[in-house]
């Protein structure tokens, strides 16, 4: 080959440089591949990325209230937060309340009520009576209409919403709040509910994961090692409750575990516990853990089973042949091989458990409610979707941290479903 042909571009049979032609073909393939995954991409975008983005945006969004009281907030920012705001603030507030049409003011007052209970009715009541006020000065007249206008606490509570974005919802979700100078302080003691609930949520989820593992491991082992005719029967026993409605199973547990229920009755009849000392197994945290363990068990058993099925029995035989005790062989040979299943099952159960809500609602009673119950409460009753979004985002964030830690310690590539 001469050096001349090497320096010139390589041409295809129709005279186009090979590089260009290749690039063209590749591009076409890429577009085709992209079109193939487009439906999936759109699906993920619409059902996953955008909702999460929307949730994150809502958790800090405070623009609405700023469109209702733009001028008031501007003047408010100059106030020194001592005693009561100056006449100017009252005056602009008065006009902006009057100017807000229809449900605009209702929505705004709902927002104001999140930071100080009472704003809602104060605005509603005042709105009607403001018609009587013809001219300034407004401060005294407004206080005369409702003495809450003269309460500094109401005014100071506005401090957290004068910016279009707020961290207030996030603070709220971990029992903190802004004081009037926008410094972060703790919630009053009798309202500190979320940290307690977070800890309980993680505690219950971890315990449920642990219990499902303890119960599920032997079951999965039997499923994987028994002869087919027995293991099929056992499989049906695992799957049957899986196919039964969640509510039916929850209610069945209520009947069994309540203080005058089947379990306690049997214990009393057997003479194991006294009639007046019946165990409290329902309407508390214990009840939540027991019922959730049973409900989530299949999510542990199935991944475990599918992994164990792939472990060749000859490994154990070899270990035993080489002189290991059964326990030692299990610990050194079988157990490590089944770890991917443990990981998959554990992560699956934990993730489902952490957001559980119906079961704790029904059997949680006194202290078995989890963070999901509070999200549902604010979603439906107070319409405080900002707080819901913040709670949800914290949950997502914590999940990601767990995932990261898990990846560091065990490695995600070790998860196997079969």
């Amino acid at each position: 080959m001469s050096s001349e042909t090497l320096s010139g571009p390589i041409l295809t049979s129709d005279g186009i440089p090979l590089k260009v032609s290749l690039r063209k073909a590749e591009k076409r393939n890429k577009i085709r591949a992209f079109l193939l995954v487009l439906p999936l991409l759109a699906f993920i975008l619409i059902t996953f990325i955008i909702p999460i983005g929307d949730m994150l945006a809502r958790s800090v969004d405070d623009r609405y209230i700023n469109t209702v009281f733009p001028k008031t907030f501007e003047i408010y920012k100059k106030w020194d937060k001592q005693d009561l705001p100056p006449e100017e603030v009252y005056e602009t507030m008065f006009f902006e309340i009057n100017a807000a049409k229809g449900f605009k003011i209702g929505k705004a007052s709902t927002r104001m009520n999140y930071s100080k209970s009472g704003w809602k009715s104060l605005i509603k009541k005042s709105q009607r009576k403001f018609k009587k006020i013809k001219e300034g000065p407004y401060k005294e007249q407004m206080i005369a209409i409702d003495k809450r206008w003269g309460d500094p606490l109401y005014w100071k509570a506005l401090g957290e919403m004068v910016d279009p974005t707020t961290m207030g919802y996030y603070l709220n979700s971990v029992d903190l709040k802004y004081d009037s100078n926008k410094e972060i302080i703790a919630q009053p003691e009798n309202r500190r509910i979320y940290n307690h609930t977070w800890i309980k949520t993680f505690k219950v989820s971890l315990l449920v994961t642990l219990f499902t593992l303890m119960l599920g491991y032997p079951i999965a082992y039997l499923l994987a090692t028994l002869p087919l005719k027995y293991s099929n029967l056992l499989m049906i026993c695992v799957l049957l409750p899986f196919w039964t409605s969640l509510l039916v199973r929850t209610v069945a547990w209520m009947i069994i575990l309540q203080q005058n229920g089947v379990f306690n009755n049997l214990m009393v009849i057997a003479g194991l516990i006294a009639d007046e000392n019946r165990w409290k197994l329902m309407y508390n945290e214990t009840g939540t853990i027991i019922v959730m363990t049973q409900i989530l068990l299949p999510f542990m058993v199935l991944p475990l089973y599918s992994v164990m099925k792939t472990i060749s029995p000859s490994y154990m035989k070899a270990a035993l042949n080489l002189g290991a005790s059964p326990l030692h062989a299990f610990w050194k040979v079988y157990m490590p091989n089944s770890l991917p299943g443990v990981s998959a099952g554990g992560l699956l159960v934990f993730i489902i458990a952490i957001g559980y809500f119906i079961t704790p609602e029904l059997v949680g009673g006194k202290d078995g409610q989890m963070i999901g119950n509070w999200i549902a409460y604010h979603l439906k009753t107070t319409l405080n979707w900002g707080l819901c979004a913040a709670l949800g985002s914290v949950l997502l964030f914590v999940m990601l941290v767990f995932y990261w830690v898990y990846n560091k310690i065990i490695g995600v590539e070790n998860i196997k479903l079969g």
Partner: protein, 351 residues
């Protein structure tokens, strides 16, 4: 672009909430015997009743807000609680309706311009007389007195009504309850009273549960929705006694959702459903109290009025005599303070 996608997403959500085919008009209520009574009294008697689809929900404004925001309203008329009626009307989720035909006939003033009246129901204490061979509890004070009447009590898992009852049991006059609740230390006082029964309570969250708790003897008395107790007595022949003293009455309203595609029908329907006759007819099937005074008169004249041929007034929460020792729940107070008190109640329960 983002906005369109967001709308599409919200639309999807509301679809998921509803998940049913489009019909002439959709009426959404709580289900069970209550909705059955509405079906008989309002829908079956309405000229366009055959075009009404009935759906059940679990209360709250979440679904409605999602539908209105997505501009994809599939619920036309919804049965709501008063604090939802207020918040929903304030936030522009409901339409204002013509109230001229009932406004002068109401037992209490309507809470917003969006509502059409329905019924009173109440949180009321009850017991099985067999549990008390000697003296029987008569007042809400007795309910909170674990020395005089030992045994477990059933209470619900949320704060509404419990605060009011605790204060009445602590000696506050029913008519003064909300003054105390709005004053400094009023809520503390209620929680202090609740502390006295804390170790003696069993919590319930589903409306059928208190009846089971009392029937099985797990508790000696319990709070419950009066309609559930009434149904157990009237239809299942259970032997329960009410403690009307200190009951807390709640209201129930119909609203028309903003953005409904059947506005004319929806307006016509709520008007039909809130006539004195319709409200009275409902009491034939469920012992909740109609909100219009003239409906009570119709029932009084018609006794024995209940469909099984017995008197229904003994099971109604809002007879004049009972109202004297009752608290009518103030939805404005709860719209203001509900979140704060609920969080506090959560702390109280958990510790």
């Amino acid at each position: 672009m983002i906005k369109t996608i967001k709308l599409a997403f919200l639309g999807l959500i509301s679809l998921a909430f509803v998940g049913s085919a489009y019909a002439d008009m959709t009426f959404v209520s709580w289900g069970g015997a209550y909705t059955a009574s509405q079906q008989k009294a309002y829908i079956d008697t309405w000229s366009k009743g055959s075009g009404v689809t009935v759906e059940n929900y679990n209360g709250g404004l979440g679904e409605i807000k999602a539908q209105v925001e997505a501009n994809n309203v599939t619920w036309d008329v919804v049965d709501v609680l008063p604090d939802q009626a207020i918040t929903g009307c304030d936030e522009g989720l409901f339409l204002k309706v013509d109230q001229s035909h009932f406004i002068d006939d109401m037992v209490v003033k309507p809470v917003s311009e969006c509502i059409s009246p329905q019924i009173f129901w109440s949180y009321v204490a009850f017991y099985d007389p067999a549990a008390f061979p000697g003296k029987k509890p008569k007042t809400i004070k007795d309910f909170f007195d674990v020395k005089k009447f030992p045994g477990k009590r059933g209470i619900h898992t949320w704060a509404n009504a419990l605060i009011e009852m605790a204060l009445v049991a602590d000696g506050v006059k029913p008519s003064k309850v909300y003054d105390v609740m709005s004053s400094d230390g009023g809520i503390d006082r209620a929680f202090k009273k609740l502390d006295t029964i804390k170790d003696h309570v069993v919590f319930w969250s589903a409306g059928s549960k208190p009846l089971e708790l009392v029937s099985s003897g797990e508790v000696v008395m319990s709070l419950a929705y009066n309609g559930r107790i009434g149904a157990a007595i009237l239809q299942e022949g259970k032997n329960f006694e009410y403690i009307w003293d200190g009951q807390v009455l709640e209201q129930e309203y119909l609203v028309v959702v903003k953005g409904t595609k059947n506005e004319a029908e929806a307006r016509e329907f709520v008007k039909h459903a809130s006539t004195a006759e319709s409200l009275a007819l409902q009491a034939k099937y469920i012992p909740y109290g109609p909100m219009r005074s003239s409906s009570i008169d119709i029932i009084k004249k018609g006794e024995p009025y209940f469909n099984t041929g017995v008197d229904v007034l003994p099971h109604m929460p809002n007879t004049p005599k009972r109202l004297r020792r009752s608290v009518i729940a103030d939805p404005f107070w709860w719209a203001d303070n509900g979140a704060e008190v609920s969080e506090r109640f959560g702390v109280w329960k958990g510790n």
